[in-house]
Amino acid sequence: MTQSVLTIVADVEPAKVPEVRSAIDRIKADPGGNPLLPFGQFDSLHFAALVLAEAPGLARPALILECNVDGSTKAWLAELAGAGAAGLDAVFQGSPGYPGSADPAGLRSWLDEHVVRPGAFHIGATGRSVARIRQEEQLHDAISAFLDEHERAGGLNGATSEEVRASVQAFVRGDPALQWAQGRPPLRQTMREKVVPRLRAVAAIAAAVALLPILVPLVLVAFPLLVLKERRDPVLTGLPDPDHVRGLEEDEDVGVLEDARGRHLLCQNHLSSVIPVKPGMLRASLLPVVLFVLNLLARVTFTRGRLGGIPSIHFAHWTLIDRGRHLVFVSNFDGSWESYLADFIDKAAVGLTAVWSNTADFPRTRYLVRAGAADGPRFRQWARANQCRHAAWYTAYPGLTMTAIDNNSAIREDLFTTLDHERTVQWLRRL
């Protein structure tokens, strides 16, 4: 099915910042069920975040509402303007020109004007709706509990793979709550959803080839200029403000299963940053190109849930705002910030350097893609220094990693198919 990722970006009157911040804090206290903008009311919403950015160089603070949803952008905006209208009033009250929910038509067109689509994005659970992800978790847990019970009852004594699979199938058939699992599983992507991005990629490549006579001289001029600039661009010096870092760390709840008060901890985290693009024509024109290429790669080659070898990203997007002068990054990922950054450094340094080397104070790079994020310690410090604090963040399925979502889908998709012995053995290993 179609999924949409987008941000709604609006300026905030500096005088209204305290009110907006207090609204964010109230939402943050209970993202799913708060009285202002209860994200849990939207069945199509996977992840959402509300970030107040006061990055250097922004004329006014920017309020960013990140949305990752099932269905089209249009349908989502209609839902937001409908059920979410009062919540929008609470958070966007300080934005110049915000019409308010009393003017539904005005609100709709205001939203249309303030939606920004990402320059590049990644979706981990491609084509699976919130409802499907939750259902498949329920199925997995039920089968797991059944197997434990079945084993205690001696049902696994000397059982073959085929017999175990048959007993799981019988269990699912007999459980009224799991009747849905007997139906034919929906496709993750329709043929159209698979083919269109590839056609677009082919078209883009064809266009690039056609433009070669222009592109080649352009690159010949721009590349030496870039290499020259790379040597002189300012880089981050010193360590990020320890209080800022401590504040970020407090919001990152991943670790052992429970905290000191026995609360279950999340397995996911959120990260957001708003960073000024380096001044000058070169960076301003290079960054959209890099994002375009990255997005093509993401649409065509990373549809199996991994972005550049990183298996832990649910939704991530890069978005240019402020007429291309600031780059927003938002990401919803599994595990700790440390492990996420380590994945960046260990597995995806080249691509990330290509993007972020165009933004201010990035660690020293060479030839656009070398060094940069591969300078682990400095990259981590740079990332921390630019990360936004005080974000409210919502997740529709806090206990599920990307790996678990994919595994649950694979269990469900092959639950009633015909499998040979080898594939039966492999399927049982997922349980």
């Binding site: 197997l147 434990d148 084993e151 205690r152 001696g154 696994l156 004594n157 000397g158 059982a159 073959t160 793979s161 017999e163 175990v164 360590l239 320890p242 870092v245 401590r246 760390e249 407090e250 991943v254 670790g255 052992v256 299963l257 429970e258 905290d259 000191a260 901890l265 397995c267 991994r306 070898g309 298996p311 595990g335 700790s336 440390e338 492990s339 380590a342 994945d343 450094i345 260990d346 597995k347 995806a348 340094a349 080249v350 060479r366 070398r370 060094a371 994020a373 591969a374 300078d375 682990g376 310690p377 981590r380 990693t401 790996t403 678990a404 595994n407 053995v425 049982l428 290993r429 349980l431």
Partner: protein, 492 residues
């Protein structure tokens, strides 16, 4: 992909004479060790003590002898107390400045419940808060030699009120079954192999490198020793100071203009006292074995233990020897992805597979291995307490405390030691698992689940965990010899 050093770091000569001995060896030939925690009472007297002592510190270039050997490490508080200026203290990593005990660190290290720092014997922020400054480490061949050396050193550092001991010294004892820890398993087998380290076949004054094959263990020297090239092709950046300092100047810090490298030839030392509940562990193996018997083809307690550890008591990897303990470690050269992707021999959540996942990944084993090598630690600890009789004599020994003095060296505490704790050992979602932590060293969680992959379908035992309890801990800086001289000559 991540840009490697352009120049080969293998050519980088390691300055062993400027390193403390602990960098090169665990003093495995000296069964008796004493770790004395001290507070600096009189900074001037402490510096004078250090000046007189620097030549007695056992260095990494010396051949192993019968000892006694002395090594020294300092907490961040200790360096401040010693008079290190603020501009230098600010160049220490955040983990050193904050220390091991903050709410967040407790969470990511798993120091909750029974291991909560408020229950620690030392370092937990109790009465010794801010008063742990110096760690004096003494290694000796006999208990008498250890006592004698301690008496001599104590007379020195108590002179002029330089140092005062905090709490009882911590006694490290190798077990009679050398190389094993109290649960009965061989320990310290898979260590990172530092590039430029003398190879076992070379005539060398150093003890032979551990028998880990190069492809699964080789790291650049900067991963362990500050100032050298690390895995990212950059110098491992340690603390720096403004002045060159006295007669033996510190080398320049190439990454910080006009500053000197205080970290060179030093390392960050993580020390944790981990009590082991041997009786509880053995009972758990028996009960898990009982639970496994419901399926007909059961697992013996010894097999369950090997599944949890990932190795047999001899240290032989269960990946290469799935059915029984061959009694010796012949080969440590294996990848999980290439031999046992699904964990049918060695469970995905087994202790050694979590602590060093090698190439364990369904995606790209090479990429995973390369990433794993960015998070290795060099272990230098040893057991404490008396060995338990096997099987345990009823009630008699059960209450006596025993465990492991976990000590490791690394150049980036957050990227290495803390990463291993948080992302591998204590990660409930490690390798696609769901809600279970390390079965051997992890805390007891709500279910205490441990999944043992098997055909036709996985076994899942419950109630596993909580056999290791933290009793103390702190982060230290283990300086090089020149750095010790520098510290001893800080103008008061």
């Amino acid at each position: 992909m991540a840009a490697k050093a352009v120049t080969s770091s293998a050519a980088e000569a390691l300055e062993f004479a400027d390193m403390q001995g602990l960098v090169a060896r665990a003093y495995g030939n000296l069964p008796f060790a004493r770790y004395v925690l001290c507070r600096i009472n009189e900074p001037a007297a402490a510096r004078a003590w250090l000046r007189g002592l620097t030549d007695s510190v056992f260095t990494a270039d010396r051949p192993s002898d019968d000892g006694p050997c002395l090594n020294l490490a300092f907490t961040w508080d200790g360096l401040r107390r010693l008079g290190l200026p603020d501009d230098a203290l600010a160049t220490f990593p955040k983990a050193m400045a904050e220390g091991m005990v903050t709410p967040r660190r407790s969470r990511i290290l798993g120091d909750v419940g029974a291991s909560d720092p408020s229950t620690w014997r030392w370092g937990g922020g109790g009465p010794d808060r801010g008063a742990l400054h110096v760690l004096v480490m003494i290694f000796a061949g006999t208990e008498e030699a250890l006592d004698q050396e301690h008496r001599t050193r104590r007379a020195d550092y108590q002179a002029g009120g330089a140092l005062e001991e905090v709490g009882e010294p911590i006694e490290g004892r190798l077990l009679a079954d050398k190389g094993r820890e109290h649960f009965g398993f061989a320990d310290g087998l898979s260590q990172p192999l530092v590039k430029g380290w003398p190879k076992p076949d070379q005539k060398s004054v150093h003890p032979p490198a551990p028998p880990t094959p190069v492809r699964f263990a080789e790291v650049d020297p900067g991963e362990i020793i500050l100032g050298y090239t690390d895995n990212f092709g950059k110098p491992a950046e340690g603390p720096t100071v403004a002045g060159a300092g006295g007669a033996a100047p510190l080398p320049k810090a190439p990454w910080a203009k006009g500053r000197r490298d205080l970290g060179r030839n030093g390392s960050f030392l993580v020390f944790r006292q981990l009590a082991q509940d041997v009786v509880g562990f053995q009972r758990a193996l028996a009960s898990a074995s009982h639970a496994c018997a419901m399926r007909g083809d059961g697992l013996s307690p010894e097999q369950v233990g090997a599944k949890m550890m990932g190795r047999w008591p001899s240290g032989a990897p269960i990946v290469l020897h799935p059915h029984r303990d061959p009694g010796t470690v012949e080969d440590n050269d294996f990848g999980y992805a290439e031999k046992d992707l699904h964990g049918l021999a060695c469970p995905l959540g087994a202790h050694v597979r979590r602590a060093n996942p090698r190439d364990s990944s369904e995606d790209s084993p090479e990429k995973t291995l390369k990433a794993t090598l960015n998070h290795r630690i060099l272990r230098r600890g040893r057991p404490y307490g008396r060995a338990i009789a096997d099987p345990p004599a009823a009630g008699e020994e059960a209450s006596a405390e025993r465990g492991l003095l976990f000590i490791c060296l690394n150049s980036d505490i957050e990227r290495q030691f803390e990463f291993v704790q948080q992302t591998w050992l204590n990660n409930p979602f490690f390798a696609g698992l769901n809600g279970e932590v390390d079965p051997v060293v992890g805390p007891l969680t709500e279910t205490g689940a441990f999944t043992i992959p098997d055909d036709p379908v996985r076994r899942r035992v419950t109630g596993v965990g909580g056999y290791v309890t933290v009793r103390g801990g702190a982060y230290f800086f283990l300086p090089g010899i020149k750095a010790l001289r520098f510290l001893s000559s800080i103008p008061g």
